[in-house]
């Protein structure tokens, strides 16, 4: 699923060189559920951004489903994100003025799916996350757990094989967090690969494997 070879990321701030990632090599199989842990500044987010094709590495090679994505341009990376990757964020990142329905539909607006197919897919996802009655509400009218379920439904809109979650339970109470984790386990059961950044060892226990990062290296 994911093959990373000696991936590095260097930030230059004037004279200062900041090495966020130092020659990271990583192999993740399809349908794995993996947690990424580590203290602040250890490079978790940078790694997740590179895996999520939001950022490009300074060096090394990155194959996502046998496709070399390290050298792709901005719009090509957009296409990869659109088709293969679903994001779930700590603060949900929903469009505040859009309804549940519209938020879930959003990723499908960028790949030319017909209106009929979009409607069908949104309906499926609403049922899956149990928010059919909430489809015309805006995020501000939903609870945190409901918002995160909207975000998960949105992440699944284009049926991606890879789900990236950055502290998905960070803003939720523990009971709701458990519910969300239940959803993740279900997604893994569907054959999706899940990569989750978390601080919480209890949450991490839902995954099968944990990658520990420290100072830009895997330990």
């Amino acid at each position: 699923m994911i093959e990373m070879e000696r991936i590095s990321k260097v930030y230059r701030m004037g004279e200062v060189r900041l090495e966020a990632l130092k020659e990271i090599s990583l192999r993740i199989e399809a349908a794995e559920f993996i947690s990424i842990m580590g203290p602040s500044g250890s490079g978790k987010s940078t790694l997740l951004n590179i895996i999520g094709c939001l950022d490009t590495p300074s060096g090394g090679s990155y194959f996502l489903e046998e496709k070399n994505v390290a050298g792709l341009g901005f719009d090509e990376l957009s296409t990869v994100r659109n088709r293969k990757i679903g994001f779930v964020f700590q603060n949900f990142n929903l469009l505040p003025y859009a309804t549940t329905y519209e938020n879930i539909e959003l990723p499908m607006l960028f790949n030319g799916r017909s209106g009929k197919r979009r409607r069908e897919r949104v309906r499926e996802l609403l049922e899956m996350v149990g928010l059919v009655e909430w489809q015309h509400h805006r995020p501000s009218e939903l609870s945190g757990g409901q918002q995160q379920r909207v975000a998960i439904a949105r992440a699944l809109a284009n049926d991606p094989s890879l789900i990236l979650a950055d502290e998905p339970t960070g803003n939720l109470d523990s009971k709701t967090g458990e519910e969300i984790m239940g959803l993740f386990v279900k997604l893994q059961g569907q054959g999706r690969t899940i990569l989750m950044v978390t601080h919480d060892t209890h949450i991490a226990s839902y995954s099968q494997r944990t990658i520990q990062l420290l100072d830009g290296r895997i330990v």
């Binding site: 939001l54 901005f74 719009d75 994001f87 964020f89 990142n93 960028f110």
Partner: protein, 408 residues
Amino acid sequence: MILTFFRNLIRDLRRQPLRTSLTLSGVGWGTFAVVILLAFGSAVSRQNLKTFRGVGQGFVIAFPASTTVTYRGLPKGRLVRLTPEQVLLAGQKIPGIKRTSFEFTATRAIRYRREDVLNTVRGVTVGYGDIRNIIAGEGRYLNDADVSQKRRVCVLGDTVTENLFHEEKAVGRTVFIEGLPFTVVGVMKKKIQTSNFSGQRDEHCAFIPWTTYSALFGDKYIGSLIFQPANPADSKRTIRLMREELGKLAGFSPDDNDALFVWDWTEFEKSFSIFFLAFNVFLGVIGAFTLLVGGVGVASIMLVVVEERTKEIGIKLAVGAKRRHILWQFFTESLAIVLLGGGLGFLFAALVLKALPVEKIEEFVGIPLLNPTVGVATILILLTIGIISGLMPARRAASTNPIEALRK
């Protein structure tokens, strides 16, 4: 998809009603200015051209004067005297001349019952009316029989008719010119004339057959001649040929420019048209600048909007929007604001133009209209400004870095 676009657009615009209305009013005001300026500008030029043509259309006037160079043994300083026959003959001989005419002119007493006036009386040909735009509103203009039979008939200007007849009908009545009875056969249709030559404006004049004039008042030599080149652009050549022909007949050198004092109205008309074209371009540019200010308003507001919606852009990029999706979103939004504001300004301008007291201003500025030229010019200016003011914020939006945007 189009429906979604408009729904999102309206939602975006309604999210900040005050800001939206200010932006819209900026563009609306600019459009209003463009439309009003162009409508008035084209009306003023139309009106001026019309009143300018009140004196006649595409013609040349020549006044016989005196020679300043010797010619075939004739001394200089001789008065140039032209007879009607010479003028008509020259007009026939020169190719490219459509009509030739002339006039005898003097101020004479005209009387009807107890009303006495002193006005310009012109002895003219039948073709004179066509060149000078003298059209009978009532009755008829002079005809060939009037001229060949030296009839005592006259066509009166509309104002002199009013002065003499007041409410009465003039056609068929008899007026006395220098005590001699003339039958009124026609009254000139009112025309707007701002320029004239030798004597009063046509509304004050009486026109009689030149043969009658010559027989009654004894004039042998014409006061001035006028002719119409078939093609106004050809006026220089026909003037030269006229000098040559008349020079041969009346004895003056074709190079003696003072022998015949020539006014080329086709030249005036040309420079007049150019002046008003420049005038309208000038007004258009002023309007466009007003609109540009509105456009700058849209651009800066959209830059703020882009800044505010960085997060939204980040989210869209994360879920797979390409640069062009973002570019298009903000570009169309700016363009829609410009076009919406433009539409409102256009509508407002149309209402104002409709509400204008046309009768009161027509004489000075004509009738300002929303003609297709004004419409097309406004739309072109609006589109240009919309595109310029939309492109910059849209490009800014499209260059957003998704990682930084999501961090906000």
